[in-house]
Symmetry: C2
Subunit: 233 residues, 2 copies
DNA sequence: CTAGACCATATTTTCGAAAATCATACCGTT
DNA sequence: AACGGTATGATTTTCGAAAATATGGTCTAG
């Protein structure tokens, strides 16, 4: 199978553009490309090995997701961060996530329960391995994302799930921003466990309350430990 | 000033790509490009007078908005319509619009009241002119959009406003879909008037109830008069 | 010394050709 | 006739050159 060696690697999508979109998204969320950083084509071209127009397509898609800021005729830059934006993302997440948890608990079937339980199980396994810096572990990030995704997956609305996914990405970027300054992760494992139990036992009110607290306390932590980065803009 | 004649017209944005994105969006919403229609580059190239890559950028942006469906390696098409999608868009709109109305009523200042009153006034003026087929009048469409925009404009969250705008566009496409089959528009003028009064008098509960009814009855009308188009897919 | 005009350079944006991929019709075999 | 493989044409996707635009510095007039 020589083809995989010949053509440019496409780890994610079928097209190079989709692949670059995916890689760029990851780097922005992880703050490998810091907020506000100008995204010049020369640099991106060398870094991702794609042409102007292909990069442009990827940047345009990310601009629609709110991770990139397109300044017409003056190029692109990583979307800046701010206290205001953090508050907006947090509020929007609470509004939508709460609704989706409610719907999922109301509609979830056996497969949903299994998905919730098994994704949490994997998350806990990974946490045992290195409980110090979970956000630095790519596997933990994926597992964490999949657990929260599983919780709402039975809500029945692809439209709201897509919106939720965008907000989750934007929030995760803020978590990365503060990760380097946070002295120690708080007890997320316990929170996740409690959310799972409330969901499985179909206690919607409790699950909703736990999720809201979970989201808001994460956001508060970001504001606390990365506040100096938010005002600098 | 010869420049406007020389270079390609850019009615909307500074770049051709942004301009084409805008024009394509309008045509898709108005169903001038019908749902499910394949968007072939040859055709678009002739129609919009732009190159492959510029069109590609516009289509990618619209795909992120949910108005275009990108099928990797097999091109783009106008996003298909379905009963399920209509229900999802309607539900999501109610969830978000209700919240934003509440926040706007809680935070709106004098300028907000003026914006609500004046946009409604213009809308009514235009309706008097041709009360039969409002959706066919581009000015009515703009005025209608601006009135609903004004209602929520004081909510304080650019993030939620952007999400709301996307959902509004997707819903407007469904309204256009049914416009040709609907015998007569119902009394929207009265509904708008009542919503305005509830908002200005800061009666949030009433405004929320009226908005929800407004959105849902519009959606019901679409399902009633364009139902045959929704099942065909 | 400041403000504005002008040029040179850096950067973005657009284009159409070329490569890659997909869809279809054709052909031979079973 | 049904099936599988292959050639052919249609379509999308990608590329780097060329055009358009912004940026920054220099000069001049006030």
């Amino acid at each position: 199978m020589p083809e995989s060696a010949i053509r440019p690697r496409k780890e994610f999508g079928k097209t190079i553009a989709a692949d670059i979109t995916h890689r760029l998204r990851e780097e922005i969320i992880a703050c490998a490309l810091p907020p506000g950083e100008p995204l010049r084509f020369d640099v991106l071209r060398e870094r991702f090995g794609a042409s102007f127009t292909t990069l442009r397509e990827a940047l345009t898609a990310l601009a629609a997701e709110g991770l990139v800021d397109a300044q017409e005729q003056r190029g692109f830059r990583v979307a800046p961060v701010s206290r205001q934006d953090l508050v907006e993302v947090t509020d929007a997440r609470v509004l939508i996530e709460v609704e989706l948890i409610r719907r999922s608990i109301g509609r979830g079937d056996d497969d949903w329960e299994i998905a919730v339980i098994s994704t949490l199980h994997r998350l806990k396994r990974i946490e045992q391995r290195d409980p110090e810096h979970p956000l630095r572990d790519p596997e933990w990030k994926i597992a964490h994302r999949q657990f929260h995704q599983a919780l709402v997956s039975a809500c029945g609305s692809a439209t709201l799930l897509a919106i939720r996914a965008e907000l989750f990405d934007r929030a995760e970027r803020y978590r990365h921003l503060s990760a380097n300054f946070r002295p120690r992760p708080r007890d997320k494992a316990g929170e996740h466990q409690a959310i799972m139990q409330a969901a499985i036992s179909r206690n919607a009110d409790l699950a909703v309350q736990l999720i809201e607290t979970h989201i808001r306390s994460t956001s508060d932590n970001v504001a606390k430990y990365a506040g100096h980065l938010l005002d600098a803009e």
